[in-house]
Symmetry: C2
Subunit: 197 residues, 2 copies
């Protein structure tokens, strides 16, 4: 930290933000979501905790920033969440495919998905991705037992990501989005609100 001060860098310079983000990624990866604190990240980056809050907001926000997803799933899914559980399976999938099929956004999402499936980053994602990133989106849409329903929804959606975009099996990659919505949307609805053992 002393070295940083003597280099004359101002807090708030562009590379300070990047250093905070790097410290956050390191901390989430090493200590997990629960073990990471804004204070600890600030200390590792040699800045004031208030600056971390200023740049990134809450710890949830910092985690989402650390994942470096090109879109914030909470924002993208806000209209789906607002419309409530009826028909949510199809709406959720239509919105999701709209983002992923967008050629402007897809390369960035694909990079995140590949990185999540590598050994290095899996730890960053493992503990907190469902509760922090996916949970808030789906919490308003599940009928009950979020601890059962959310992983089931996630397993089907992750499978679409991998089969359609990452490995890109032709039969999945070429299936029109509306066919996927019609065929898999009801399954997501079942996972969200149907009778489950």
């Amino acid at each position: 930290m002393a070295a940083r001060v003597t280099r004359g860098r101002r807090p708030g310079a562009p590379d300070t933000r990047a250093e905070v983000l790097a410290a956050a990624r390191a901390s989430f990866g090493e200590k997990g979501f629960r073990g990471t604190t804004i204070r600890g990240v600030a200390s590792a980056a040699g800045v004031d905790p208030a600056l971390v809050h200023h740049y990134f907001g809450t710890k949830d926000d910092l985690f989402i920033a650390a994942l470096q997803i090109p879109v914030d799933p909470r924002e993208v899914m806000a209209p789906v969440v607002a419309a409530g559980p009826d028909g949510a399976g199809e709406r959720l999938l239509r919105t999701f495919l709209g983002v992923w099929d967008d050629p402007e956004v897809q390369p960035g999402l694909l990079a995140v998905a590949r990185s999540m499936m590598s050994d290095d980053t899996a730890g960053l994602v493992r503990d907190a991705f469902l509760p922090v990133v996916v949970g808030p989106v789906l919490a308003a849409l599940v009928r009950d037992r979020p601890e059962v329903r959310i992983p089931l929804v996630a397993s089907q959606v992750v499978g679409i990501i991998v089969a359609r975009y990452v490995v890109a099996f032709p039969a999945m990659a070429q299936m029109p989005a509306e066919d996927l919505v019609a065929r898999i949307g009801p399954v997501l609805q079942h996972y969200l609100t149907g009778d489950l053992p």
Copy 2:
């Protein structure tokens, strides 16, 4: 090839088999499944086509060998296939989880799964994995329209692999196998034999 002969290596020596496999992997990756021939692989490896057949069987068998999966899905799934479409969703998933949850086999499967999701190997898998590896297993279990049903089954099963084993979200990794069978098995059954748009 001449160089190999002068080095005095016999066809059938252990490293010949490995060279044929390497040539097969390169060919499937570069030319795709259709563009690959036993003759071409044999030529690239400097051996007789009959030796490739002797080692690996058909082109389908060679492809499965090239994927380096620790178990042959066709063998593992044979009892599920033999039992027919009724209840196949749950049986398929129970068998699948039995293999993946086996600590002896899981590391090898995980290595293949990670490699399939990397840029390098995706091409090897992209065109032929569903028709050659998954197709023969599921063909006897789908009611009709295999080109629609098989990718849907694959998308859900791939999602289980990634969510439970590759990224290993705790909520999925810790869900008892029989709970998964009870909750996702009916969805697989729906994809195999249910009414689909």
